[in-house]
Symmetry: C2
């Protein structure tokens, strides 16, 4: 029986692309490039640190990946400026469909499970309108491992008291879909970029730029093991999902 919906935060409930304006204000002309490379390196560093057994929290990873990204352009930033710019990740905009989707699932336990550090998640959720619709905001931080390390997903059962088979895990991140499914959750993938839309972004104009390449690298279902049980175009479709499992309430 499905008892809980657990959501990825960055890219699923909250739009990581919404930092671009603040970045472009700080580094004129580089908003798109920095936004994409920063996010790609942020994820990469989270994976590498997990693999190496060299965990640092996501706030550190976020500042390190920003520092790397600025360095590729020959831009330097001291710790204070890095923190100011990285704070854009604490004020991301929720997707337009997030609040109503969470409200429609009020009969279930609703939680976030995110790579974000507890302080980042507290800032993120309190500044949006999603907080009243969430029963728990869970961080992987206590496990000192990032998704898709299976240890990261253990937090759900430990903190929410639900078995993996009682959870629909919701993510638009392909690696997270693989990891959550491999762990044992039911998984709904939010397809924010359809294959057709991606193809148009890649072949429509001349050169493939940073935003299109980001979509190419991050938006499609991964060929990396497990696939989602359900693929839907937006969070709004989630309330129809439990019907997929016959033993749902």
């Amino acid at each position: 029986m499905i008892k809980a919906f657990v959501f990825d935060a960055y890219g699923t409930l909250y739009d990581v692309q919404s930092v671009a304006g603040a970045i472009d204000a700080a580094f004129p002309g580089h908003g798109d490039y920095i936004t994409q490379v920063w996010r790609l390196k942020q994820l990469e560093y989270s994976w590498l640190r997990s693999m190496m057994g060299r965990y640092e929290d996501f706030w550190t990873v976020t500042r390190h990946s920003l520092s790397y990204t600025l360095g590729t352009l020959g831009l330097a930033a001291n710790e204070d400026l890095l923190a100011v710019v990285a704070d854009a990740y604490n004020t991301l905009s929720p997707y337009a469909d997030a609040e109503a989707a969470l409200a429609a699932l009020a009969g279930y336990r609703r939680a976030i499970l995110s790579n974000g550090s507890p302080a980042m998640l507290a800032a993120l959720v309190s500044q949006s309108r999603l907080q009243p619709h969430l029963d728990a905001v869970l961080s992987v931080d206590g496990k000192r491992a990032f998704k898709p390390d299976p240890r990261a997903y253990e937090v759900v059962q430990e903190q929410l008291g639900v078995l993996p088979d009682e959870v629909v895990f919701v993510s638009s991140n392909g690696f997270d879909v693989c990891g959550a499914k491999s762990f044992g959750f039911h998984v709904a993938r939010i397809e924010r970029v359809t294959p057709t839309a991606l193809r148009q972004a890649l072949t429509g104009s001349g050169t493939v730029g940073p935003a299109a390449l980001f979509k190419a690298l991050r938006s499609q279902a991964e060929t990396c093991g497990e696939a989602a049980d359900v693929v839907i175009g937006s969070l709004a479709e989630l309330s129809a999902v439990p019907g997929r499992w016959a033993d749902s309430p």
Copy 2:
């Protein structure tokens, strides 16, 4: 005392960009895009599978990442075609400075430690002129973990009989530099793209395309923990490296 030089293969001794011609012949107009996205996803899948405990060998990872990449363009390929195209990774060109650099280190044990499966590495090395200059070609495959997972680096001591402190590990891959240094090797980083050259690639012309973005993501020293002991511009400079450690022969 330095007793051995151990080399990364893909990107360090062998040029992963050398597949572009074969790719462009198979998929006209898409050679550059596919080359870059394929390599980025190949590494990503190796990391994700290691993290998830879902190891498949690098030949599988290489075909899966190619399949994903073709899919982003709406191109389909059956298993036979995937294998034919993926075989480009078994015939990569060595960098121009590789053979002479290995020859100049004849007083040391010289080995490859690579993510590549044993069959991939056997094909790669036998088709180049590097084989006579290598004492061992080591794969991570027996460990069922990819670099930078520390288990991957254990192969060196087990197979070559040298302690980490007796090894100079040589790589142009930032994640590999971090992983090897974190493991305990001395590490020489080959800087194939200088910060100045990268800056020019990123700011010289209008849009930042796939090749420039690949360089931005993969060619610079990572802000991810450990740094190399030595940074040199080419493999040719390696023979001067042991002088950095006073107890070298």
